[in-house]
């Protein structure tokens, strides 16, 4: 560059450099900012539009069935008797079971992959394997559940029922689809969510806290239980709540594995139903009578999941804000 001195011919016109944005640029700028703002608001209004649409279509059913819809157990199309208590029970029961299994595995994986047990490369491999679990479509898990999980579980389920049948959890025998296979597959599906978010909050714990604990003579696990887990507790709690929200709304695997039977039972092996599975199984063939009722069921599911997810998002945003504040 030193060889060519700028001469008058290729020196840029100074007036071009110093020109402020033209009126046209400013109009475009305003317009574009307005447009993005409009899209931001449209995302917000989308949430309300969903509630409005589903609620509006459910209105006739809400008027005729009222709150008894939530507390009765029959689903009788002929006599127009509808109640979703078994479905609410099934949704909560399967999700809680799944969260207990998936939460345990998710949190121990998160600990194992953040506390320097393994070389970085091996950690990376395991992390990706767990994340790949989330990439498998739910319907494929359903298929796998039918042909792998149920046959694998059946012998031990039958043994448990015959020998320990007096325990309510083993009260019925597993004939095919049922609560336990559904909950197991559900657990696999919430595992990546729980472990990813827990891992984030565990790796956000300042390293000095752990070093201090180890310096005082704590073993690795005393440091984890005494210092690291309590510091990351809120994040892990948020992860569990979001995992629970995910489990509540999961549809296909449950529609294929839970048995689609309108009954309430505490037994792990008895078939049941969930709100999402009810929708998946009945909606495609619903007539005019059934449609508003299903919309009502959808509204109930929407209410439950929105509540749980908002709680989870709130807990998580609270923790990240505090963590960010602490760093400053």
């Amino acid at each position: 560059m030193s060889t060519t001195l700028p001469n008058a011919a290729n020196r840029p016109d100074e007036s071009v450099i110093s020109t402020p944005p033209s009126k046209f640029d400013i109009v475009i700028d305003r317009g574009f900012r307005g447009l993005t703002g409009f899209f931001a608001w449209s995302t917000v209004s989308l949430v309300f539009f969903i509630v409005y649409e589903v609620g509006g279509k459910a209105m006739p059913a809400i008027k005729t069935h009222g709150l008894s819809f939530l507390t009765t157990q029959t689903w009788d199309l002929q006599n127009e008797q509808f109640g979703v208590l078994p479905e609410i029970w099934g949704t909560l029961y399967s999700s809680i079971l799944a969260l207990m299994i998936g939460g345990f595995f998710g949190i121990s994986i998160a600990i194992f992959l953040t506390q320097d047990f393994l070389p970085r490369k091996v950690e990376w491999v395991f992390k990706n394997i767990v994340e790949l679990l989330a990439a498998i479509p739910s319907v494929v898990y359903g298929l796998w559940g039918i042909f792998v999980v149920i046959p694998t579980l059946r012998p031990s389920a039958i043994w448990l029922h015959e020998n320990l049948g007096w325990i309510p959890f083993f009260g019925t025998s597993l004939s095919g689809p049922g609560m336990l296979p559904a909950a197991l597959v559900l657990a696999i599906m919430v595992l990546p969510t729980v472990s990813a978010i827990s891992r984030d909050s565990l790796s956000n714990v300042p390293g000095k806290l752990k070093e201090a604990a180890v310096g005082l003579g704590a073993t690795r696990w005393e440091a984890i239980f005494g210092v690291i887990l309590p510091t990351a507790a809120k994040g892990i709690f948020g992860a569990l709540v979001l995992g629970f929200g995910r489990a509540l709304g999961e549809t296909m695997a449950l529609a294929m594995l839970v048995g689609n039977s309108n009954q309430m039972s505490i037994s792990l092996f008895s078939p049941g139903n969930t709100l999402a599975a009810l929708l998946a199984n009945h909606f495609p063939e619903a007539g005019e009578k059934e449609e508003p009722v299903l919309m009502y069921a959808a509204l109930v599911l929407l209410g439950i999941t929105l509540l749980v997810n908002i709680c989870g998002a709130f807990v998580l945003s609270h923790t990240t804000r505090r963590a960010a504040g602490g760093q400053k």
Partner: protein, 304 residues
Amino acid sequence: MNEEEITAAFEGVDFPRLERSLRHPRTLISVVLSLGTGITTVIACIPLFSVLFMLVYRGGKKLSTELFTELPPTAFEQGGGFGNAIVGTAVVVSIAAAIAIPVGVLTAVFLAEFGPDSKTASVTRFCAKTLTGLPSILAGVFAYAAVVLATGSYSAPAGGVALSLLMLPTIILTAEEAMRMVPRKMKEAAIGMGCTRTQVAWKIVLPTALPGILTGVMLAVARAAGETAPLLFTALFSNYWIFEDGQSQLMEPTASLAVFIYNFSGMPFENQIEMAWAASLVLVLLVLAINITGQLISSRAKSR
């Protein structure tokens, strides 16, 4: 004091022993727990390998070109394929992407560039996070109420609307994240040259953040391609091609791979069940391929 005096002075004092031997319960517990978490992690990998093994074992032997070119078999028919379902999935996901990408990216531009700390932005972010947790079947119920009932028919666009709802939050959140990574100095330099904020967004931020945005889009597309529940009563299913004799039947029920698997998995015929496995293999390979491409784009951009 020399060493002997020190030893003498502390004789009889019971110091906690610092060495770690397995005879100490504390150390033992620590080792057992470490092994325990290790084993749990390995157990958690079993389902993935089991699923992949079953897909290759039961779906792999069925793989042939007919699968991609023929229509689904009827009850007692042998052979057949799911070509129309692959085309259908592509069409429905494209419609969803065409809706979700512009809305999502422009929303993210607002969140990252124009009003990152405004009330609007925090409300929008919160709604996007809430939408992430929207059960997929409710996206279907919404699209049914808003599109199917309005247009009077099950159709590909109805399925597209349902899937776009599920893609939107992923795109918004990852695109915002990607745009925030753009170095502030680049933007300041552009503003110093007299650029408007819009020009900064279009010429500096979007091109720089492109790999990150693409990764988000890929993840969203991969998720949408595997979704079944929202398509059950929006796109429904069809045993015929969506484009035939030069005519498109966009406003008719449309086949998709995911619904194909669901329908065929419950059938009592061996051929149909094998087809469901083969379709699952194709779907999983497709989803994984999109996912891995997304990851590659982002890691390529990071290493630059």
